[in-house]
Structure formats: structure tokens, C-alpha cells
Symmetry: C2
Subunit: 352 residues, 2 copies
């Protein structure tokens, strides 16, 4: 079975490469530690890739889309037809993720994981549709266990195809009207925190909408009773196809020693599913940013991730991941391109 092979194949991070990177950071012409999290990031990227001088050149953002039965229940400020409309916007290059991916020199892969719309064939649209949207989690599980597996395995296939083309880092991105609701349900199920602490306004619901969202998620958890020690079960009962696909991207990337830049709230829900399936994936994850969405902090803490950016993003699509990827690339360049004290003839710190 693909999924088991992949999770079994996730290697330990490379401590030797990390040590070599750390030693080099100490020899570069700057006070030790003065580049803060960029230094730390470069050392982590060495551990992930197994290369003392990791290189980030081929940057890929995988943006996965899916629809959600629960979106019919008024959990979003936007109507469900926006999911396919935004997919078309991604394909024509006019969305925020297109702009930011171009800015950082990343290519985008747009994947239909389960949009409730049949797209005309398009050279830049990958169709891995599991179904036309999930079932409403108020009426039973979002999907079958087989569909959950299919979604995760599709994500693995997508990232492996990109790795074959050349990929040094992958960013995750999502699109799906209503998908903060399944993401919050996943977070509540896995972290055990109360729904009211996790649920936020998504793309912009009002106070009444927020209260309804909390109630809907509590009911969905009550109806579906996801098993927190079984990541696939949580995904099947309260998840989404794009979330499952992104969990697969994350697991597949880790199995190939590729760093994953995790975007915001929905991508972090996918990361939680991936960790629940295979905890050894954790060292491969880098959190791009702290979302404005309430509850993201709880998820990051559970995952043991410290985000790089804190600039009030709450869009998804991979927008935060794009900016994070640029920082990761900068961190690698620092390690590779800076002169050492010896090379530059600069006096090092005076030892006492």
C-alpha cells in the first residue's frame, strides 16, 4: 500500500549535515547567532535535505481545491461557487497566490481534489477529484475511509511528480469555501481543545455566524466521533479532500527529504493529519506564518511549530507559504554565499 510505504520511508533528519551547517554558520563574517531564525532555518534545512549546504532553487507551491457539504449550512461569508471561480482565477494568474509565487520565483500546481464543478480540461489544472465535494459533516462522515486514503495518496502522487521535475521545497496551499470549518473540527479532534477556542471568522463571518460555526462543529464532532489516534479516521469523518491531499503532499515530500513550508490554518490542519498518520514527518515541517485565524496558535503548538512570519495573513491559497519560501531560500544563500572570517580576513570576536 502506497501510504504505508511512504510513511515507513520517512527518514530521520540528518544530524551530521545539521552539525556541519551549524559549524559553518559560526565561521561566517557576522556575530554568531546574529541572523537569528535565518541561521536556525538554514541548519534545519541541512538536516532535512541531508546536505551541509542546502540549495533552494526549484520552488513549488501546490494549491489544492475542494468543496465542503457543510458550506451549504452558512459557515462562510462566500457562496460555494467561489471555489471553482477561484480555481479559474488561479489558472489565469490573477489571484494573490499567483502574484506572490511569481514574486518569490515559485511555480504553482493547481489541483482539483474535489471541487463540486466539472472543469474543462486545462494544461495547468491537475484533476485528482475524489468526489464533487464532501458530504455535510452534520449528516455523517465527510467521506469514506477509502476516499480519505485516496485523497492522501493523490497528494503523494502530485508531490512525487513535482519532485521528478525538480523540487527543492514545497509550499502548501488551499482553496475551498467553508474549509475553515473542517480544519477547526480536525484541530479540535486532534488537540482536544474546546471548539470555541479554535473557531474563528474564516473569510469574515459575523458574530451570529461565528456562534453558528461553533455549534455546527460541536455537533459534527458529536455526530462523527473522530478517533484522535487515527489520522485517516479524523480526515474521513470531519475533513476535506484538499486537506487530505495536502496531508499526502506533506508525507510524500518528507519521504524524499524535501522541506515543506506549511501555509496557514487549513494547511496546518493538513499537517496535523499528516502528523497523526506519521509523527516522524514533524521535522520536515516549517510553519510559514501565524494566521489571524483564531486557533492557529493552538494547532502550531500541538505540532511543535514556531511560525516565521506574523503579519496578519488569513487568506490561504499558499500565500504565506510563498513568503516563507523566500526566507528559506535566503537562509540557504546565507550559508552558501557568505564569506568566512578567514576568507575575508576579518578579525573574529576576541576570546577572553
Amino acid at each position: 500500500m502506497t501510504l504505508k510505504c511512504v510513511t515507513d520511508g520517512i527518514p530521520e533528519p540528518d544530524a551530521h549535515a545539521a552539525e556541519a551547517a551549524r559549524a559553518r554558520q559560526a565561521a561566517l563574517t557576522k556575530p554568531q547567532g546574529s541572523l537569528g531564525r535565518l541561521e536556525e532555518l538554514s541548519i534545519r534545512l541541512a538536516a532535512i535535505t541531508g546536505r551541509p549546504l542546502p540549495v533552494i532553487k526549484d520552488k513549488v507551491i501546490i494549491t489544492m481545491a475542494g468543496d465542503h457539504g457543510v458550506a451549504q449550512d452558512g459557515v462562510s461569508a462566500y457562496p460555494p461557487e467561489v471555489t471553482p471561480q477561484m480555481v479559474l482565477n488561479f489558472l489565469s494568474g490573477g489571484a494573490a497566490i499567483n502574484v506572490l509565487a511569481r514574486h518569490v520565483g515559485a511555480r504553482i500546481v493547481v489541483v482539483d481534489m474535489g471541487v463540486d464543478y466539472d472543469f474543462d480540461p486545462h494544461p495547468h489544472l491537475l484533476v485528482k477529484k475524489v468526489a464533487h465535494g464532501t458530504n455535510s459533516i452534520l449528516c455523517g462522515p465527510a467521506m469514506t475511509r477509502e476516499q480519505a486514503e485516496q485523497a492522501v495518496e493523490a497528494g503523494i502522487e502530485v508531490v512525487e511528480a513535482e519532485i521528478a521535475k525538480g523540487l527543492d521545497i514545497v509550499g502548501t496551499g488551499d482553496m475551498g469555501i467553508g474549509n475553515t470549518t473542517p480544519s477547526a473540527a480536525i484541530a479540535a479532534a486532534l488537540t482536544g481543545e474546546p471548539v470555541s477556542k479554535i473557531v474563528g471568522r474564516g473569510t469574515g463571518v459575523d458574530d451570529a455566524g461565528l456562534a453558528r460555526k461553533v455549534e455546527i462543529i460541536e455537533r459534527a464532532l458529536d455526530i462523527n466521533k473522530p478517533d484522535p489516534i487515527d489520522g485517516l479516521d479524523v480526515l474521513a469523518r470531519v475533513g476535506g479532500f484538499e486537506i487530505g491531499g495536502l496531508a499526502g503532499v506533506i508525507l510524500g515530500a518528507a519521504a524524499h527529504r524535501k522541506p515543506v513550508m506549511v501555509d496557514g490554518f487549513i494547511s496546518t490542519a493538513a499537517a496535523l493529519i499528516a502528523i497523526a498518520i506519521a509523527p516522524q514527518v514533524r521535522p520536515y515541517l516549517i510553519a510559514a506564518h501565524r494566521s489571524q485565524e483564531q486557533g492557529h496558535g493552538i494547532m502550531l503548538e500541538w505540532a511543535g511549530l514556531e511560525p516565521l512570519l506574523d503579519i496578519d495573513l488569513r487568506l490561504g491559497e499558499g500565500t504565506g507559504a510563498a513568503l516563507g519560501i523566500s526566507l528559506a531560500e535566503a537562509a540557504c544563500k546565507i550559508l552558501s554565499e557568505m564569506a568566512t572570517f578567514e576568507e575575508a580576513g576579518v578579525s573574529d570576536k576576541e576570546e577572553e
Copy 2:
């Protein structure tokens, strides 16, 4: 007098351009406000430049170097000869700022404002040397008032020459062994906060070094009694040549409606001097990052600046400014390159 002409020439930010940018942000295919500080930044850049769709293409980092008499008194972990050594490292492209400037596509201008060393002529080194280092602030003022004015006016000249070549945003950078000491003295003088709350470890002094640094700055303030309502007086009594130069860069840029990306602790001290000289410069300043250096938060608050990044940088040179410039460019591209709801045929939020 150049300085007065420049400060008199700093215009009000353009409220109409800001309004147009704000309206466009609301029409772009994303939930309103979902790009958080990037949206806010794009609106500020519109106000600064007077253009509803500001463009950031020509990016310049001005890194100014100077030596400090007080560095002889053991306030730094590095010997003073590192200042000219690092200038040579900048010129040969091996320093952190070179790497990060290349990463974000910015050009660097290296300026000798007062290094205690005579450099051989170099095509990429601008020499605006006011003197061979400042006097020790433990023996009297760092420089004369005339020298302070000369330093600020040299900074104006440098930035105006770059504007003539093409400049859409300028980042500030510094190099000067010992220069966290004058910067902390400036911060204490202008904000009125106690020295012990402002002083940090700079490039890495130990506990005894830290206590000595606090004592030195308290003595320097006591000996020199800088006048907090007179920016040039504060600069002359406890400042540095590169700090004065950067204050000039900031004032000169603002007079030409150019946004200034302020780097860390030392650059913020320069910004404080600029604000003390001409408070109307404030809207032109963008804080790149929150430095690890203690006291930076106090300075930012006094200046009314909210930093973009918080990734534990404490290097200077303009490294944080380089990363901030990339975010500013991204913010402008969002405004210019994203499709509107109407253009993309995407349904907007349902109004109730």
C-alpha cells in the same frame, strides 16, 4: 542651508492615493483584509509615493560605516579594526548584506562616513568621511555640531544621487564596531527611558560587559547632557557619523516621497534623530524588523513604528531592511497585479 531646505520640503503623505489604494484592495479577489499587513503596507506606500498603484523596482540599500571613540573602552566583543575589514567584505560581496541584497534584487551603496582607516579608492566605495572616527563620548561630545550637520547633509547627498539614478525604496544599513553604544545613548536621550532598559549585548558582550556598557552610557549622558528637543545636538553629543549619515538618508528620501525601510537598532537610532530634526518624516518610515537588541522596542514605540518581521535578527548592515523591502515589493505587486472580483468573474461576499 541644505538641511533646512530638505526638511521644509518633506510633503504630507497623499491621502487621495491612499484612498484609491484602499478601494482597490477591497475590490481584489480575496476576502477584504485577508492579506493583513501587506494590504496596509500597500496603502502606506501609495500615500508615501503619491501613486495609487506604487511600483517598487529600483531597490537600494545604503550601508554607512563609521568608527567610535568609545569602542576603545571595551563596549564591543569585536576589535575596532573590524569596521574597515567589514567595509572591504561589503565591497567584495561576502557579507550578509551582500547575500540578502542579491536575494531581493537590491543594489548596495557602501559609504565611509567616518571609518578610522584610509581606504584605497574603490569604484563601489563612496567616501564621505567626516573624520577618522568620533571622539569618545566619555571625554566630551562625539563630534562638533558642524560635523553633525556635515554628516546629515552627506547622507542627503548620497540618497539624492541614488534617486537620480532610479530609486523606488531605500533601506538603511550600518557598520561600526561599538555603535550600539551611541545608538542606545541616543535612544535614552530622546525617549527619556533609563539606560538599563535600553542597553543590550550588541554583537555579544557578556554580563560584566553589559554592566560596563550601561555605566559608560550613563556617564556619557551625564557628561554631554544632550538636548532632547534638538536632534542635531543629540547626534553631535552622543552619536556617530554613520548614524548622522543615515538620518540624512532618511530625511532626503522623505523629501522626495521615497519610502524608507528602516533596519534594526542602529538604523532606528538614526530614524529617531531624523524625527527629532523633522517630525514630519515619520510617515515615510517603515520598520523592517524587531531586533533582538533590547531597547529596540522602546525606540520603535517612540517612533510609532510597528515592525514587519520578528525573526531575532541583530546584525545590522541593512540585513533586515533587505527582507523588509521584499515584503514591500510584494505588497505593491498585490495591488497592481491581482484581478478584481469583476475582472475574474468571482462572486463577492454575500451582503446580508
